[in-house]
Amino acid sequence: MKGLKIIVLAKQVPDTRNVGRDAMKADGTVNRAALPAIFNPEDLNALELALRIKDTNEGTTVTVLTMGPGRAAEIIREAMYRGADKGVLLTDKKFAGSDTLATSYALSLAVKKLAPYDLVIAGRQAIDGDTAQVGPQVAEKLGLPQVTYAEEILSVRKGRVTIKRRLERGVETVEAPMPLVLTVHSSAPACRSRNARYTIKYRHARTLGELQDTSEDYLQLRKDRPYLTIDEWGVSDVGADVDQLGLSGSPTKVRKIENVVFTGRDSKVISGSENDIEALMKELIDSHTIG
C-alpha cells in the first residue's frame, strides 16, 4: 500500500516534572525561565506511534505541527532527529494567550492547510495545562472522528485503523476510518531516541525567524537542501480570524492562581487489629480518599 500522511501535534512545555523552589514567581505565575523547555511527554508517545506506522508502511511521511514561540522550533528538530520528515511552526504574537479553544482553532486551520492527510496524532494532554482538550477540539473543528487514550495501533488496513485504548479499568479495542484524530496515552511505548544519521542530517534545520537571530549561514546548503528550512506560519498564512485567537478568542479566564502548600497534620497511629483497619477503611471511603 502507499504510505500514509501523518501529522503529529506537539507542544513545547516547561518541565513541570522537576519543579524546584523557584518554579513559581511571587505573583503566582509560572517562572518559565527556571524550568527547562521540553517536548511534552505524551506528544513524544504520539510521535513514536506515528514513527511505528512509518516503519512498517513504506512511503509514509510524518509532519510535526507545533504552535508556540520561536524557540519551539527546538521540538521540531527533536522530532526530525527521531525520524519525522518535516515540521511546521505556527508562530505569531497574535496567538499568544490562547486557551484550548483558540489553540485548537489555530491548529485545525494549519492541519487543513497541510491536507491531504490520513492521521492526526497528538498526545493526550500537555503537562503544563493538563486539560486534554486540544486533541478532541481539533477533531471537532475538522469534523473528524477521534479516538482518545490510544496506546497501540494494531493495524492500518484499507483506510481503517484498529486501535487499543487504555482506559481507567482496562483496555478497549476500536476500529475507526481515516482520516482520524488520535490522542495518545502515556502508557503507549516510549519514544525512540534520536537517530545518529537523522541528527547529522537535520542539525542545521532552522526556521526563518531563527536564521534572522544567528550569524550561522550555510546559505548555499539551505538553497540545495530545502528540508533544512522549517516552515513558519503566522495568522495570515492559515487565514485565521484574529478575534478567535489569543486572549480575545479565549473564553477561559484565569481569575486567580493559588499556591497550594501541602502541610503535614498530626499523625495517627493505627494498630494492625481488625477493628482499627476497618475503622480506617471506613474513614477513607467516607472522605472519598478511596473508592
Binding site: 537517530n195 545518529a196 541528527t199 547529522i200 542539525r203 537542501r225
Partner: protein, 572 residues
C-alpha cells in the same frame, strides 16, 4: 535527563584535541562527500559538531536504557535455546536501541550505512557504553569485526557483509581454542577448500567465543595442511545463516555475565576467505587484536568511571563517626587516586586513538592513491607509535580498572560486598579486562619492544619534552625529566645484559615506568590546555615518580645471578 556524555566534561575536552583537525580532514578526504551525501560533514567545525551530537545520543541511550538494564542483565544472563543464544531481555533491548539510533557500524564508510567516524569519537562511544554496562560493551564493540572486513576483505565481501551492520547485525571473532589461547599459533580448526563449488569449509572447535552465535563471525583457521605455526592460518567470515555451527555451551562466568561466551563446534561450515591465505594471524588478526585492545582500554576507562562515581556517591552519603566518610584521609585518598588514574589513562587512551586514526587513514588513502613522501613518513611514524602504545595502554588501563574497582568496593565497606550496590557487579566485570585480548603479561611482551627499540624514549624526548609550557607549570617538568633519565638508564642496564630471560623478568617494570612518564606528560599537556587539570597533573606526577623510583630501585639491586633462585625447576 541523565546523559553519560554530557555529564563528563573530560570527554568533550579530549574530543577537542588540536590533532583532530588533521584526523577529520583525512577521514573525510577533504570533505569529498559533502555534496553527494546528506549526512556527510561540510567542514571541520561541522564534523566536530556532528560527533558531539552523536555522542550525546550515545550518552542518552547509555544513561537511560543500558545502565538501568545492567543489573537485570547481570542476573538473567543469556541462555541457550534450540542451539541459539537468546540474549537477556535487557541486552536485546540495548541492542535494539543502539541499532535504531544508527550506532552500529559507526566507523564504516557511509556507502555501507556507517557514519564514517574516526577512532577518537568511536572509542569515546565505547567508553560511554562500557560505563553503562561493560558486558554489553562487548556485544556492541564487536562491530570492530566490520572494520576488519572493510580493511582486508575483497570488494565483494565488503558489499555482502558491511551493509548488514548498520541494520543491527552482531559480530564475533572466533580465535581461541581449547589448546590455543594466548598461543594462537596453535590454532587447529581446519579449513578445507572444495574446488568443485569454490567454497571453504570449516571443521573444529572454538572456545571462549564472546557473542559466539553472532550474525557474522570472523574465524581463524588452519588452511595449510601440515603446518604447525601462524603462517598456516587464514581468516574466514562465517555467516550465521548457514546454520552449520553447534553451540555446545554458554560459559558461566565471574563477570560480564550479559555477554554470551560460547563453545562452538564447526561441522562443514561454509565460509569465505578474508583477504589472502596465510595472512590470517600474522596480519589480519594482529590488526583486529590491536583494535580490540584499544576497545578493552576504552572498556577499562568506562568501568573505572562507573566505579569511581559509585564510590564517590557512597563516600559522600555514608556517615560514620559523625561525618561523611569522604572527609577521612584514608577514604579521600582512595577516591582521589581513582580520579587521577582515570584522568591519566583517559589521556593515554585518546592519545593512542589519535595515533591509530592517523596511520589507519593513511593506510586507507594509500589504496586510493599514492601517498606523498611526507605522508608516508607520517603513516610510518604513527603506526610505529600505535604498535607500542596500544599494548602499553591496554596493560595500564586494565590494571587500573581492577585497582579502581577494588578501591570502589572498599569504600563501600561491607555494603559493597553485598548485591545491594552496583559496585560488586562493576568489580566482577573489571576482572576480565586484564585477561582477554591478551593478558597483561602478553601486553608486556608486545610493549617491551617500545623499550628495546627506543620508541617510548624518542616519543618522550622528541614529542612531549618539546611541547611548550606555561610558566606556572614549569615546576612539573624537572621531575618528569628525571624520571626519563632514570628510565633510560635502567632500560639500558637491563638490555645491555643481553639476556632474554632477564629482560623478560624486568619487562613489566620497564614498560610501566615508560607508561608513567608518558601519562605524566599527557596530563601536563592537558593542564596546559585547561587549568582544571593542573592539580591532577601535579598529584599524578608525584605518585608516578615514587612508583618509578621503586621499580628502578628493584632493578638496581637485583643481581642477574639471582634469577635462578626464583625459577621453578621442573626437571626434578
Amino acid at each position: 535527563m541523565a546523559n553519560f556524555y554530557n555529564d563528563n566534561s573530560d570527554l568533550r575536552f579530549h574530543l577537542g584535541h588540536p590533532l583532530m583537525k588533521k584526523i577529520v580532514k583525512l577521514k573525510e578526504r577533504d570533505f569529498a562527500e559533502k555534496e553527494s551525501c546528506d549526512y556527510a560533514f561540510l567542514d571541520y567545525e561541522d564534523a566536530m559538531d556532528g560527533y558531539d551530537k552523536v555522542l550525546e545520543i550515545v550518552g542518552d541511550i547509555c544513561a537511560n536504557v543500558i545502565a538501568p538494564n545492567a543489573e537485570s542483565v547481570d542476573a538473567e544472563g543469556p541462555s541457550l535455546v534450540d542451539n541459539e543464544v537468546k540474549y537477556a531481555r535487557g541486552t536485546a533491548e540495548n541492542h535494539e536501541a543502539l541499532t535504531r539510533a544508527g550506532l552500529i557500524g559507526m566507523s564504516l564508510p557511509r556507502k555501507y550505512g556507517g557514519l564514517n567516524f574516526p577512532m577518537v569519537p568511536y572509542v569515546m562511544a565505547a567508553e560511554i557504553v562500557s560505563r553503562a554496562d561493560a558486558g554489553f560493551a562487548n556485544i556492541w564493540g564487536l562491530q570492530d569485526c566490520a572494520e576488519t572486513i572493510h580493511e582486508f576483505g575483497s570488494e565483494e565481501l565488503r558489499d555482502e557483509f558491511l551493509p548488514r551492520f548498520n541494520k543491527g547485525a552482531t559480530a564475533a571473532m572466533d580465535l581461541t581454542e581449547p589448546d590455543a589461547g594466548s598461543d594462537l599459533q596453535a590454532v587447529q580448526l581446519k579449513a578445507t577448500y572444495n574446488q568443485k563449488n569454490d567454497t571453504w569449509y570449516l571443521n573444529g572447535v572454538k572456545r571462549f567465543i564472546t557473542n559466539g552465535d553472532a550474525d557474522v563471525s570472523l574465524v581463524l583457521a588452519r588452511s595449510e595442511e601440515g603446518t604447525t605455526d601462524g603462517r598456516g592460518l587464514s581468516l574466514y567470515v562465517y555467516d550465521r545463516k548457514e546454520k552449520a555451527v553447534t553451540i555446545r555451551r554458554i560459559e558461566n562466568k565471574l563477570g560480564i555475565k550479559g555477554s554470551p561466551t560460547c563453545e562452538l563446534v564447526f561441522r562443514n561450515a561454509p565460509a569465505k576467505l578474508v583477504g589472502h591465505r596465510k595472512f590470517g594471524l600474522i596480519k589480519y588478526v594482529m590488526a583486529l587484536m590491536n583494535s580490540a585492545r584499544l576497545g578493552v582500554a576504552a572498556q577499562s576507562v568506562g568501568i573505572s568511571e562507573a566505579a569511581y562515581r559509585e564510590a564517590l556517591k557512597y563516600a559522600e552519603e555514608r556517615t560514620q563517626f559523625g561525618r561523611p566518610i569522604i572527609q577521612f584521609p584514608a577514604v579521600y585518598e582512595m577516591i582521589r587516586l581513582m580520579e587521577l588514574r582515570i584522568r591519566s589513562m583517559r589521556s593515554f587512551l585518546y592519545e593512542t586513538a589519535r595515533f591509530v586514526d592517523i596511520y589507519k587513514n593513511y593506510n586507507a588513502i594509500s589504496e586510493e592513491r599514492k601517498l606523498e613522501a611526507d605522508e608516508r613518513a607520517e603513516q610510518k611514524k604513527y603506526q610505529r607509535l600505535s604498535d607500542v602504545y596500544t599494548p602499553l595502554l591496554k596493560l595500564v588501563s586494565s590494571e587500573y580498572s581492577n585497582m579502581i574497582a577494588y578501591d570502589a568496593l572498599q569504600v563501600h565497606g561491607g555494603a559493597g560486598f553485598m548485591k545491594d550496590f552496583p559496585v560488586e557487579r562493576i568489580y566482577r566485570d573489571a576482572r576480565i579486562t586484564s585477561i582477554y585480548e591478551g593478558t597483561s603479561q602478553l601486553q608486556v611482551v608486545a610493549a617491551i619492544r617500545g623499550v628495546t627499540s627506543g620508541i617510548y624514549l624518542s616519543a618522550i624526548r622528541d614529542m612531549y619534552e618539546k611541547e611548550t609550557l606555561k610558566p606556572e607549570l614549569e615546576y612539573l617538568k624537572p621531575p618528569l625529566e628525571e624520571m626519563t633519565a632514570e628510565f633510560e638508564k635502567y632500560a639500558a642496564h637491563v638490555t645491555e645484559a643481553n639476556d632474554g630471560e632477564y629482560l623478560d623478568f624486568h619487562a613489566r617494570r620497564l614498560v610501566e615506568m615508560a607508561g608513567n612518564i608518558i601519562m605524566g606528560y599527557l596530563l601536563l599537556r592537558d593542564a596546559r590546555m585547561d587549568d582544571k587539570y593542573q592539580q591532577a597533573a601535579s598529584a599524578f606526577i608525584d605518585i608516578a615518580r615514587a612508583a618509578n623510583l621503586e621499580k628502578a630501585e628493584y632493578i638496581r639491586r637485583f643481581n642477574i645471578k639471582d634469577l635462578g633462585l626464583l625459577k621453578y625447576n621442573f626437571d626434578i
